[in-house]
């Protein structure tokens, strides 16, 4: 019987040696270690043989079993590794072939710019608000110290809406600046206020490389006790630093807007000539970015805020120029012509 075991073991191991696929191991296992295998039969028949023989045969049979099981485990491991090695090399593909394309969309460069600007101001405690584009003369002009026949109206050619009141007045227009939203905020919000007001604005102007009848602006407005022009400067310089970068110089100079006093124009150093003067900046070395100032006491008062208690600053800036400057776009109309060859670049 020992001999029988010995022969069985060696033929089993020989056969195992020749197996070269994991799948082949299963039938080998059934044959040599399964319920109906020779080894199982021998182990099962141990009870029928004499006790002294039983001990030696039993011990040997168990040794054979452990040996076969271990060999099987080792063989399985070897084969698995070999198979992994093959599949890791696997099929050869031409990786230079073009990919299976996913359609990709892009936000409009103006949207991207607006979101970026809003994020900067939101991080400084400003809240984003919006207002109507078709607006009353009052909020666009009157409330902002620009009464009828004020020369400042000439600088903002207005598209009027064909709407007449019973008395024959034509008080509805397409807002010429987002400052109209400020006029509404003064009436509706209580200090402390910090808001930015992005949106479309309209001018009665023919389009050319630097003008379109519709474009984007963002206005900002802060009211509280103790707000100063130094705060205005700090806020706008911080904006400029984050939007244009640390290394661009910024300039604050006196300018006039009827709804602020003192009034400010902010410019940044020209990106092309770095202040030396070139065609882009009209030889000044500076690019005007926005108008600002301390909100005029009359404007606050008209909206129901007491200028003796509160001070306030306001600013307004054109958006379209910013992506133009950043990407070197030389014609503003490209932003609104919706040519995919242009839009896909952003």
């Amino acid at each position: 019987m020992l001999k029988q075991l010995e022969e069985m073991e060696s033929s089993a191991l020989r056969e195992l040696e020749d197996i070269n696929r994991i799948k082949g191991l299963e039938s080998w296992q059934v044959r040599y270690l399964g319920k109906k295998s020779e080894l199982t039969n021998i182990l099962r028949s141990l009870t029928t043989i004499p006790l002294d023989e039983r001990k030696t045969v039993g011990a040997y049979a168990n040794k054979v079993k452990v040996n076969l099981e271990n060999s099987l485990g080792e063989k399985r491991q070897t084969l698995r590794e070999a198979e992994l090695a093959v599949s890791a090399k696997g099929e050869v593909i031409d990786i230079t072939l073009p990919s299976r394309p996913f359609p990709v969309g892009h936000l409009h460069p103006i949207t991207q710019t607006l979101y970026e600007i809003c994020d900067i101001f939101v991080s400084m405690g400003f809240q984003v608000v919006e207002g109507p584009e078709a607006e009353w003369d009052y909020y666009n002009f009157e409330a902002l110290n620009i009464p009828e026949e004020h020369p400042a109206r000439d600088t903002m050619s207005t598209s009027w809406i064909d709407f007449e009141t019973e008395s024959g007045e034509r008080p509805m227009l397409l807002r010429t600046h987002t400052t109209s939203v400020t006029a509404r905020i003064i009436e509706t919000m209580q200090p402390p206020i910090r808001v930015v007001e992005p949106g479309k604005v309209y001018r009665y102007e023919a389009s050319d490389a630097t003008h379109t009848p519709m474009f984007y602006q963002i206005d900002g407005f802060a009211v509280d006790r103790g707000i100063t022009m130094a705060d205005l400067k700090g806020t706008l310089y911080e904006f400029a630093r984050r939007f244009f970068g640390e290394d661009r110089k910024v300039r604050f100079r006196c300018d006039y807007f009827p709804f602020v006093e003192p009034g400010v124009e902010m410019a940044i150093e020209c990106s092309v000539c770095r202040g030396a003067g070139c065609r882009l900046c009209g030889n000044s070395g500076w690019i005007e970015i926005l108008g600002a100032g301390m909100t005029h006491p009359q404007v606050l008062e008209r909206g129901g805020l007491d200028p003796e208690i509160y001070t306030s600053f306001a600013f307004g800036m054109g958006i379209d120029r910013l992506p133009m400057l950043r990407y070197g776009i030389d014609d503003i109309r490209l932003l609104y012509n919706s040519d995919l060859r242009f839009l896909r670049q952003f």
Partner: protein, 799 residues
């Protein structure tokens, strides 16, 4: 406004370099938009005097003038017809840079032999010097020009182009700018010394003035100069006017313009003899009163406009333009000179309504002060006598019903620091204001400030604070961050909705576009192939710039289709576009509603043409998929229902219904519409009103536990009438509580199903959160489902 440096220097010493001056002015609010250097390239050109002229031996039209240059003499060849001995001329040495008189090209002068005579140098015309286009003869310089001086020193100048803000009409003048420079640099101002002889006959005996409309004319001054001789004005006046962009006319008109540029006060000269009854009446025009203005055009006026009239007729539109009937001409011998002040709004209205913007108009409408009339009229009277002869009547006429006192304003150091955020001492404040001509009376830490008469823009303390800040320099103001507590925020949910939608759409492969809000009826009508009527009519702009920008868009789809058409000229792949913006719906005697709308279109192959893909086209179900995906992300429960949008294909469209309201639509475009937009392919569209949708979006979701017990899947192939929709089947199946999911995986009609029928194959998932389902439970429910489908929809199991 154009301002020559030399004119400024007549009134102030400028001790800082020109670029610094430009920068100081700009920083202080007088923006130097540009500057042009006259004679910047006049090297090797000097003043010379002709001392002899001899004929050219070989040419009748040429002469050989000898030019004295002080230490040397040169004989040159010239063809100029206008030279004579004694003339001062501009002499160019060989090597000078000149403009060619015929071609206009810049060239460098070389020695030349002209008809056998060598010419080393040249006498120059204005055109050759680049001063003007005149090339009829050489430029003859004034007799006082110093021989041998560099022409650049004698005639060169810098012309500043200043942008004057509307609040500073006083700076629309040489003297006004000089005052700013004086405040910024500390140099003293030298105003013109004005004095002239007067006759003994008082002006009031020769003219009477009546202001009928004092509300529109606070002050009217006049002087009378008799015995003048109208002629061309001297070169120096003409050159200054030209440098400032004005055309010289004659000595009288030129003086009025010259003094307007110098003092900022517009003046008008009448031919005194053409003023009937020697009476000036300042009154409102009568409705449809007509006057022929100096430009020869008849202007019809209205009663809101102010005229200067004599007894019989209007002789000028006040502050805007003079009348032809009283114009100064060569025959004029006596001048009635007007220096008046008019109501700014009235002048602005008149100039705007008559479309007659002018230098005078620009100054009046910005509100110059009435005090300015007197110094200006005296200066002009003096210059007229100086240039045109004649004699001034005794005294000036001066009617002044609208006298305005400058009221003192109280300013404190604390107010200054409260606004500027930086402390200035009272001394600093007073010194800044005094430098600008303000009168300051200090009292402890306060000061009573009275603005000088020429400033019309100072009304309250903040106006003074700006003066202090800009003269001290905005760069002295520190930059600080807001230090107040952060205000409470109430972010507007529509903003985050718009942002979410935009980000989702680009994730789905859609390109965002932004189009103009103004459009045309023509393009909007292309959307309406059946009814051709826009209801309601969109809002119209009263003054459209172009016909294609006349109406406020009531939808986004028209622009999107136009954009698709335009891009099809160069794109043949799949195009997916969206716009998220407002549409404008007319209100009842109110502003329009401006809901935020999302609209997208898709057209062309679904996948980019490539080596591994087919060429299936984007269709209705892609558009629907975008909407379903988006609404799902937003947590909105919606259904797709029947719809009748005439721009869309009759049967390939569905309304997006949310809480019983139609809020949007998906569909394939009506082929008539795509044809109208000249698009060859099928186009699908989705559109949804985000403002209406907003209340139904869920900002938070409630967590559903992950199922703990296994699901049982069953596939059912049903045969139903073709009119039975998937939605009906799905609704019935879903109504059973054991069903957790139902999905359709095949739709078939053809040979293997009877005519009029179709086969729908579903996979149903049965699952409960409470226990593992048994086959028996599922079988029982499946029977019930089939019974219900059969009784309600006539469905049978496909064998």
């Amino acid at each position: 406004m154009k301002v020559p440096l030399k004119w400024l220097q007549e009134h102030i010493d400028i001790t800082i370099p020109v670029p610094d001056l430009a920068n100081r002015l700009t920083m202080a609010g007088i923006e130097v938009g540009g500057r042009q250097v006259v004679g910047g390239n006049w090297q090797n050109i000097v003043v010379g005097q002709i001392i002899a002229i001899s004929p050219h031996p070989n040419a009748d039209r040429l002469t050989l003038p000898t030019i004295d240059l002080g230490t040397e003499r040169h004989t040159v060849v010239t063809g100029a017809p206008n030279i004579k001995v004694g003339d001062k001329v501009a002499f160019a040495y060989v090597g000078a840079e000149l403009v060619d008189g015929h071609s206009g090209q810049v060239f460098r002068l070389k020695s030349a032999k002209i008809r056998g005579v060598v010419s080393n140098g040249m006498v120059c015309s204005e055109k050759e010097l680049g001063i003007s286009d005149s090339h009829e003869g050489i430029m003859v310089l004034p007799t006082e020009a110093p021989v041998s001086a560099l022409l650049a020193d004698y005639l060169g100048d810098v012309i500043f182009d200043l942008e004057i803000t509307p609040n500073r009409p006083d700076c629309l003048s040489i003297i006004g700018i000089t005052r700013e420079i004086s405040a910024l640099t500390g140099q003293d101002l030298h105003l013109p010394q004005v004095s002239y002889e007067e006759s003994t006959s008082p002006i009031y005996q020769q003219i009477s003035i009546e202001i009928v409309a004092p509300d529109l004319c606070p002050r009217y001054c006049a002087s009378l100069i008799t015995g003048v001789k109208i002629a061309e004005s001297p070169k120096w006046i003409q050159q200054r006017l030209l440098a400032c962009g004005m055309r010289p006319i004659n000595n009288i008109v030129d003086v009025t313009n010259y003094v307007m540029l110098e003092y900022g006060q517009p003046l008008h000269a009448f031919d005194y003899h053409l003023i009937r009854d020697k009476k000036i009446i300042v009154r409102r025009a009568t409705d449809s009163e007509a006057i022929v203005t100096l430009d020869g055009v008849e202007r019809v006026l209205s009663k809101n406009m102010l005229v200067i009239a004599d007894k019989e007729r209007a002789v000028a539109i006040a502050g805007v333009m003079g009348g032809a009937n009283s114009e100064v001409s060569e025959q004029t011998t006596s001048i009635l000179l007007e220096s008046a002040n008019f109501n700014p709004a009235s002048i602005h209205y008149t100039g705007r309504t008559l479309r007659l913007p002018s230098e005078a108009c620009m100054r009046f409408e910005r509100g110059i002060r009435p005090e300015l009339t007197l110094p200006a009229i005296k200066r002009a009277t003096q210059l007229i006598i100086q240039l045109a002869g004649g004699e001034a009547a005794k005294g000036l006429a001066d009617i002044y019903p609208g006298k305005l006192e400058q009221k003192p304003i109280l300013l404190s150091t604390s107010h200054v620091s409260r606004v500027l955020g930086v402390k200035f001492s009272l001394d600093q404040i007073v010194s800044a204001l005094t430098s600008l001509g303000f009168d300051c009376k200090t009292k402890e830490s306060e000061v009573w400030v009275t603005a000088p008469y020429w400033r019309s823009d100072i009304h309250q303390a903040v106006d003074l604070i700006e003066e202090v800040a800009r003269i001290t320099g905005y760069d002295k103001i520190p930059a600080t961050m807001l230090s107040q507590p952060l205000p409470r925020q109430n972010p507007k949910p529509i903003l985050s909705l718009k942002q979410k939608v935009r980000r989702s759409l680009i994730g789905y492969g859609f390109q965002e576009i932004i189009t103009y809000s103004l459009t045309s009826l023509e393009i909007l009508n292309k959307l309406l192939p059946e009814s051709h009527t826009l209801e309601p009519m969109p809002l119209r702009v009263a003054n459209p710039m172009t016909a294609d920008q006349e109406y406020l868009r009531p939808n986004l789809r028209a622009n999107l289709l136009a954009v698709l058409c335009a891009n099809r000229r160069h794109e043949d792949g799949g195009i997916r576009l969206f716009e998220l913006g407002r549409v404008y719906l007319p209100g009842q005697n109110n502003l329009p509603e401006e809901p935020e709308v999302l609209c997208g279109i898709l057209s062309g192959p679904r996948l980019e043409k490539s080596w591994h893909s087919g060429s299936e086209l984007l269709d209705f179900f892609d558009a629907k998929g975008v909407m379903e995906g988006l609404l799902n992300q937003l947590g909105v429960e919606s259904s797709f229902e029947e719809s009748s949008d005439e721009s869309l294909h009759q049967s390939k469209q569905a309304a997006i219904v949310i809480n019983g309201n139609k809020m949007g639509v998906v569909g394939e475009l009506n082929p008539k519409v795509t044809q109208a937009f000249e698009i060859g392919d099928t186009v699908c569209l989705f559109e949804i009103n985000l403002t209406a949708l907003l209340p139904f979006t869920t900002s938070y979701k409630i967590f559903q536990p992950i199922p703990r017990f296994p699901a049982i899947l069953r596939d059912l192939a049903l045969v139903v009438d073709t009119r039975i929709t998937h939605q009906k089947v799905q609704n019935i199946v879903k109504s059973f509580p054991l069903v957790s999911e139902v999905s359709i995986f095949d739709v078939y009609s053809g040979e293997q199903v009877p005519p009029g029928k179709k086969s729908l194959a579903y996979r149903i998932t049965f699952q409960l959160p409470s226990h593992t389902l048994t086959d028996e439970e599922v079988n029982r429910v499946q029977e019930q489902i089939l019974d219900k489908l059969s009784s309600e929809l006539g469905a049978t199991l496909r064998s």
